[in-house]
């Protein structure tokens, strides 16, 4: 990892609220995050945690109801919240590539795939170049797909087309929002593998937004766990997965199917994610937390370095300790 160079994405103290007409909903409550060159970062959280808002904010793709109230977003040395429309368009055009959750709606239903890919490539690419790009995204029969309309493709094929379009201009940063959530379980892993291979080949950085911690763990270098509009735990995938220091990360792992022992029950996280209307002056996770103590409900935890990662929790020591004993027995 190239943690020494200037980060490709630098987000600090970011605050974003949505104006729903009747009230303000705070989606991002002081988030800070850096993405470095040539790495894969997974941002994990439940729906409502703010991960999509964070991802879209990096390209200023938020709906008009969203308001950036504070903080900064720098992407490839461009101040995204301050840039004029033209600079922003150049940033998106030259440096960014987005992959969306539902590939069939992310493609224009009235336009053949070939033309859409050509538009994404820019200029007037030769048909062979378009087919070559589709082949790189592991689409067989690119000639046939060029002539197809989006509704004639399967979800997995359509997502490969979307991925091909996202990498068409060799972006420095790929942002994929739940890239496999709408696909059949049997092909999720393959599509993720393609995305990872293309990233590695191009040396771009990839940010994956997902709710599926275990799936993402196999494809990411670092993981950022989001809750209540903040990054609550951020570190190398191995460390975070092995010994979560935030109780929410721990609960996510326990709730997800994957490497449970036979007879072991998955434990859903009790309660529901918070809907904030202003800055949270306590720990947003406290109401659902098994480790909480009085100060969790009165004092906002700040990010601190602990056990080789960054964590936003007053009780991180206790969380790690709780997992140490049973895990060592199991090994």
């Amino acid at each position: 990892m190239t943690a020494m160079t200037a980060p490709l994405v630098d987000i600090a103290d970011l605050v974003i609220e949505y104006d729903t007409g009747t009230r303000q909903v705070r989606a991002i409550d002081g988030a800070a995050l850096q993405v470095f060159e040539d790495e894969t970062l997974a941002i994990v959280g439940e729906s409502g945690s703010g991960k999509t808002t964070l991802g879209m904010a990096a390209g200023r793709l938020l709906p008009p109801e969203a308001r950036v109230l504070g903080g900064r977003i720098h992407v490839a040395d461009v101040d995204v919240s301050d840039a004029d429309d033209d600079a922003l368009r150049r940033l998106r055009h030259d440096k960014l590539g987005f992959v969306f959750q539902n590939p069939t709606t992310a493609l224009d239903p009235t336009m053949r795939i070939g033309r859409q890919v050509a538009l994404a490539m820019g200029g007037r690419p030769a048909p062979e170049a378009i087919a070559e790009l589709l082949s790189r995204a592991e689409l067989n029969e690119p000639q046939r797909i060029l002539r197809a309309f989006p509704h004639e493709l399967s979800g997995g094929m359509a997502q490969r087309v979307v991925i091909a379009m996202a990498i068409a201009r060799s972006p420095q940063l790929l942002i994929a929002d739940e890239p496999t959530a709408s696909l059949d379980a049997s092909i999720r892993e393959k599509v993720m593998a393609t995305l990872g291979r293309l990233r590695a080949e191009s040396g771009a950085s990839l940010v994956i937004l997902s709710h599926d911690l275990r799936m993402i763990a196999r494809h990411a270098d670092r993981v950022a766990v989001m809750y209540g509009g903040r990054i609550v735990e951020l570190g190398a995938v191995g460390q975070v997965m092995q010994a979560p220091a935030h109780p929410y990360t721990r609960a996510l792992l326990a709730a997800a199917a994957g490497n449970e022992r036979p007879g072991e029950r998955l434990r859903p996280i009790p309660g529901t994610p918070p809907i904030l209307e202003s800055r949270c002056e306590a720990c947003a996770y406290a109401p659902r937390c098994a480790f909480r103590e009085t100060r969790c409900e009165t004092e906002r935890p700040e990010p601190r370095a602990f056990a080789g990662r960054e964590v936003v929790c007053h009780r991180a020591e206790a969380v790690i300790a709780a997992d140490q004993s049973p895990r060592q027995e199991a090994r």
């Binding site: 992310a106 493609l107 309309f149 509704h151 004639e152």
Partner: protein, 319 residues
């Protein structure tokens, strides 16, 4: 082959619709108080004279027989003879059709040229703003709710006080005197177009607004496409689908003869002819006129269906 499978059910539905229209027209005319004999002979008339007229035109037969005779004759190409002028109805209708067609084309052209761009602008602006109220919606609502006869009357009043350039009445064919033709046809055309402008504006605006929220537009923005390119390449075509429907309905309505406007401005088109036929209880004119208007209307809607399938590849493929 796929087109045939797509069209066949529509053709069947159209035939059923035509049957329904023919029955409705036929019955509603017969159920109007007063018959042809009353109009022709006036109120003070002997039952004998009335019977002679009824017998001559077959009006003494049961309704079913009258209906079947009418349909049978039409299938043979005979749309009947005007009882008043004794001339074939079809010839009279065809003679007036170009007038109505010209009126319809003027109204449609103005409605499209004004309504579609305004609708696109209004929709694009509304989508990028947080509060979704704007003048496009107000204009659309007003234009759609002002009746033709009110607007037409106002225009006639205005232009009869200040004659300006327009003329009311005194139709001459375009081929004979283009300028004189336009002087009489533009006002009624504009009157008819106001509703069309409003209709197309609102439909386009709503369609654009809906397309703008689709993920593929966000995806195009995310690729760094310019707003102009996004509108041209992605929005216009996707938003055109519902617009085609209303344009077809509107055009069919115009071709059916815009009765009120033609009467108001004395435009000798199909609408005025049918209107006079109705006043005279001249059954053949009204029956043939309304039925042919229905045929035109249905045909145009079927063409619109074909047009959809060309615009939206998903339509033809659905099952």
């Amino acid at each position: 082959m796929r087109l045939a499978a797509y069209l066949l059910p529509r053709i069947l539905a159209a035939l059923i619709t035509l049957f329904g229209v023919s029955v409705l027209v036929f019955l509603s005319l017969r159920l109007l108080p007063g018959g042809y004999a009353d109009i022709l002979l006036g109120p003070f008339v002997t039952p004998e004279a009335r019977a002679v007229i009824a017998q001559r035109y077959g009006l003494d037969q049961p309704l079913v027989v009258q209906y079947l005779r009418w349909v049978w004759a039409m299938l043979g190409g005979d749309f009947g003879v005007s009882m008043v002028t004794q001339r074939p109805v079809i010839a009279e209708l065809l003679r007036r059709a170009p007038v109505t067609l010209q009126l319809a084309l003027i109204a449609l052209a103005v409605a499209l040229a004004v309504g579609y761009p305004l609708g696109v602008i209004s929709g694009v602006r509304a989508a990028s703003r947080r509060k979704r109220r704007d003048f496009g919606r107000v204009v659309g609502a007003m234009g759609a709710s002002v009746p033709d006869f009110v607007l037409g009357s106002v225009l006639i009043f205005v232009f009869s006080v200040w004659s300006l350039w327009f003329r009311v009445g005194g139709y001459v064919p375009f081929g004979v005197d283009p300028v004189g033709n336009l002087r009489t046809m533009l006002l009624p055309g504009l009157t008819l177009s106001v509703f069309g402008v409003a209709l197309i504006l609102r439909t386009t605006r709503d369609a654009v607004l809906r397309v703008m929220t689709e993920p593929h537009i966000t995806a195009a923005v995310a690729r760094g496409a310019t707003p102009g390119a996004i509108i041209r390449r992605h929005i216009l075509r996707n938003a055109a689908i519902p617009v085609v429907t209303v344009v077809a309905t509107y055009f069919g309505f115009l071709l059916g003869g815009a009765v009120i406007v033609e009467v108001l401005f004395s435009v000798p088109g199909v609408g005025l002819y049918i209107f006079n036929g109705l006043l005279n209880r001249d059954y053949a004119i009204v029956q043939a006129g309304v039925l042919l208007a229905a045929v035109v209307f249905i045909t145009i809607n079927m063409l619109a269906d074909v047009l959809y399938a060309l615009i939206d590849p998903r339509v033809g493929a659905a099952r």
